[in-house]
């Protein structure tokens, strides 16, 4: 055991963990909107629209996240047309490519979680709203969405943790996140176990915090 290396690499890994958290939070926020959008499309009565939303979630859940990042980072740059548009400002940055891939990926899982939450809302609750003369829009935003959020909290908590682990793939497109820095230190010192203990410990700490945060929210919004 090389204790000195562990102590020396700790601050480096900790500052890299900040990048991991940044990647995670930005992609979760964008992914939540994407997920909500596609969940609403999924429960649409129009078969074509709901099939389309299903196709999106099927493709993104059925392929590895690594493929998705590579398609966006290496693949999209190949399209000449894209290079001339304003989108290129975003797509030439590995950071944003990773975030787009993560957001689309977590969006697919989130849409499944929210869809099942919407579908488990008892029709009686919606009918009660209607009989009180509340408009459809208000029923959706003030009744359906709050109940769906509460219902989906446990599953969404798992998704946050899975996504946190997923952000490690950003290191494959040159981003120095926690895994990226850990790999760099391992390949320069050839001390994989020590670095794994420190980096893994930081990841476990983040998992622990997220897990308890979700538990706290679950308790707060339980009824």
């Amino acid at each position: 055991m090389d204790l000195e290396l562990m102590i020396n690499s700790f601050p480096k890994l900790l500052s890299a963990a900040a990048i991991t958290l940044k990647l995670l939070s930005v992609s979760l926020i964008i992914g939540l909107f994407i997920g909500l959008f596609f969940a609403i499309l999924r429960i649409n009565k129009n078969k074509l629209i709901s099939k389309l939303a299903y196709g999106y979630s099927y493709v993104f859940r059925g392929t590895p996240l690594l493929v998705q990042i590579f398609i966006i980072y290496f693949g999209l740059g190949q399209i000449e047309y894209l290079r001339s548009t304003i989108l290129w400002v975003i797509l030439k940055e590995p950071y944003w490519c990773a975030i787009i891939a993560f957001a689309l990926n977590t969006g697919a899982y989130t849409s499944e979680i929210l869809r099942s939450a919407f579908q488990t809302i008892k029709p009686g609750i919606i009918e009660a709203g209607k009989s009180l003369g509340i408009s459809n829009k208000v029923i959706f935003f003030k009744i359906q969405i709050p109940i769906a959020i509460r219902q989906s909290l446990p599953a969404y908590g798992n998704e946050i943790i899975l996504m946190m682990k997923g952000t490690s793939l950003a290191s494959t497109v040159t981003i120095m996140d926690l895994t990226g820095v850990a790999k760099y230190i391992i390949s320069t010192t050839f001390k994989p176990i020590e670095v794994f203990i420190v980096a893994g410990g930081i990841y476990l700490l983040m998992t622990f915090i997220i897990h308890n945060l979700i538990k706290f929210l679950e308790k707060k919004y339980s009824y």
């Binding site: 392929t63 690594l66 493929v67 398609i71 399209i79 895994t179 893994g200």
Partner: protein, 230 residues
């Protein structure tokens, strides 16, 4: 379609063998995962606090740390560990471990943590009366486990195990960082030499979709088979 031709002119045969490699690694990893689950599920269910602690540490650490980090640990640490063990037996030459074995083992340990949780949940949700009934009938431990508990566990576990299989299958794409030529690595090579990453990575995505689709169909059949009588 010329680019996907079999033989020297296209990448068809290379990608075909890469797909077989992905399947082989996934199945091996899943199997190694089952072996781990076989060891850790009893530890999880044991009344001994210390054994519980060991099993819980395994599943918590593996499920809380990114797969890529675990793979790096095995990729960089595997050779060292094997050489250390070999040096105890007096062998001091350099040993290179096969990328397939390292990869399958790393993914297997990850898959095993998920399988352990699935089996634990399945065994715990079997009605207590089933255990008691088996005792009352005077079945010995062996028959109780294989004739009463295991069939019911499998029925409950298969839907969740199919999720584990999906995770395992997708995780194998990460082994490409170690140089094992599976779908992802082969696409990377092809994309590099043809300068057509968009096509090859999209094709890789299609291959993975195909694998998940076909395996889901097969697992559904298994589910029907094990639900006979319900």
């Amino acid at each position: 379609m010329e680019i996907l031709a079999f033989g020297d002119t296209g990448w068809g045969d290379e990608l075909f063998y890469a797909t077989l490699m992905t399947i082989a690694v996934s199945i091996t990893a899943m199997f190694i995962g089952f072996l781990f689950a076989l060891i850790f599920t009893p530890l999880k269910l044991s009344k001994n606090k210390f054994l519980n602690f060991i099993a819980n540490s395994y599943t918590t650490i593996i499920r809380g740390v990114p797969e890529l980090l675990v793979i790096y640990l095995f990729f960089f640490g595997g050779t060292g560990a094997v050489m250390f063990v070999a040096s105890i037996f007096g062998y001091n030459e350099y040993i290179e471990i096969n990328a397939f074995i390292t990869g399958a083992f790393a993914i297997g340990i990850i898959s095993g943590a998920y399988s352990t949780e699935v089996f634990r949940g399945a065994i715990q949700s079997i009605d207590k009366g089933q255990f008691e009934a088996a005792n009352v009938l005077g079945l010995n431990k062996f028959r109780k486990f294989f004739k009463i508990i295991l069939p019911q566990t499998l029925r409950l576990a298969i839907p969740n195990l199919s999720n584990v299989w999906q995770i395992t299958l997708k995780d194998t794409s990460l082994i490409s960082v170690t140089g094992l030529v599976e779908i992802m690595r082969q696409s990377y090579i092809a994309a590099g030499s043809t300068r057509d990453p968009l096509f090859f990575y999209s094709f890789a995505a299609v291959l993975y979709l195909l694998l998940t689709f076909v395996s889901m169909k097969l697992i559904n059949r298994l589910e029907v088979r094990y639900s006979r009588g319900y």
